[in-house]
Amino acid sequence: MSINKRQQYRTLFKQNVERRLFVDKIVRLIVISCVVTAIIPLGSILVEVFKNGIAAISIEFLTEVPGSIGSGDGGIGPAIQGTLIVIGMASIIGVPIGVLSGIFLSEFGDNKLAKSVRFFNDVFMEFPSILLGIFAFLVIVLVLGHFSVWAGAFALALIMFPIVARTTEESLKMVPVTYREAGMALGLRHWVVTIRIVIAAAKNGMVTGVLLSVARIGGETAPLIMTILGSSLFFNNFDTPMDALPLRIWRLSLLPYDSAQLQGWGAALVLILIILAINIGVRTLVLNKNDTYRFGKMIKEKIGGTK
């Protein structure tokens, strides 16, 4: 290549760089505006719920059974209790099944069975939740002859486990194969490597998946209408209808009284706070301390480095 030609190329590349810097600016602008567009509805919902709901909150509101319709008396005690019970039960059923399926798909998932399981799991994840509610209605409510907490927990577990399975599989797959090899080379059995090394490394992702699914079922209304129906009384036993926050919100918001709608806002705020509390609580309890440490250190280094 002649020297002249090289010089030509240098000018060309320089122009390219200028063009790229320009494109970079444009793309950055687009990205930022997308983020803002996504945050605006989220933020305004939160602000609205807080603004409208905070007035309804009182000890009475949080602990008592609903008063007579339209009176504005009473509270959402049974709904709070019911939501906690049904989320807990659904998690007890759904999380182990989801986590185990996820482990199977990721660690032993190189065969026909796993491929079909993965496919059905994905299909299941996309199912409208009302269909799962109707399914629970058919196989539990109709068979037993009454609405029950069992049916509600079953329906929510059906929504939960595909999400947990998928996120578990994805988090486990992110763990580099070199850790698995190191474990195998130490003469550890496959399941020991999976549980003590691979899962330990993937824990954060798995916990996030479980929390996502909890948040998802915490807000489900349709399947609960078909299963636990709703009630004005505190939990009695697993074979009777029960109340839950989404059901209560739905009912209250349909009533034509301001007092009821105010209570609806209050219930929505409580639901958001419960999901938030579960998230923060589980994260502090379960997440790898080393990871936070590393993250903190990383930030410190970043700040220190760009000074």
Partner: protein, 274 residues
Amino acid sequence: MTTKPNTIKRQVSSSSNILTEEDKFKMIAENVTISYGDKSAVNNVTMKFKEKSVTALIGPSGCGKTTFLRCLNRMHDMTKNAKVEGKVMIDGIDLYSKEIDPIYHRRKVGMVFQKPNPFPTMSIFDNVTAGLRLNGVKDKKILNEIVEDTLKMAYLWDEVKNDLKKPAIELSGGQQQRLCIARALAIQPEVLLMDEPASALDPIATQKIEETITELKKEFTIIIVTHNMQQAVRVSDYTGFMYLGDLVEFRETKKLFTDPKNELTAKYVQGQFG
């Protein structure tokens, strides 16, 4: 030796006159052929590894040296479509025979990988003891003793003895690699496989690793894959030169480098290709 005398079918030049039957062989690989699908990566390699010696495997990239090393620990079990034919004997027992549970043999054969891979969620102490703890050794006294012993063997003790609870991931690359050596030694293996253990390290860390290897030779049979010919000269007693999946020449290191029998070996060790 408990095995029957080996006949070396392939003309692996003069390996028989450097390693006589009186030598005690820890491991013997016999007619090992390894293929991924249709593609063969190692062709009919026979090698004997003398007890308490260092054997280096050298050769250009893609010549099959790492693939061969991994078969000595049955690491190919994890790779789908990898197929290993031939025999690998350790103390006279065929590692690939159907009755053998590879778990027990992997405990006899430690392995250090090319990139340092300490377990990310564990502390330094937990990393070293992982192979023991996860196999049910709980006695704190034993664990403490082994941690100190193996970290000293890996020349890491002085640098970390006050920080054993620190996450292993915070160590430098060279320290991590020596930690991985300690971790491999903690299960009390008899053979140590090292896959380019210094390729990701700077000269000082490399020197430390090489000192470690020289020290470990007194107790262990070491097989090391290296890109670096000077490293092979410095640390090894025997060297095998591999090219395109064949073992071209396998002799005492000094002789292989000063008086190679094979023309290809001569060109490679003189740096004419590689």
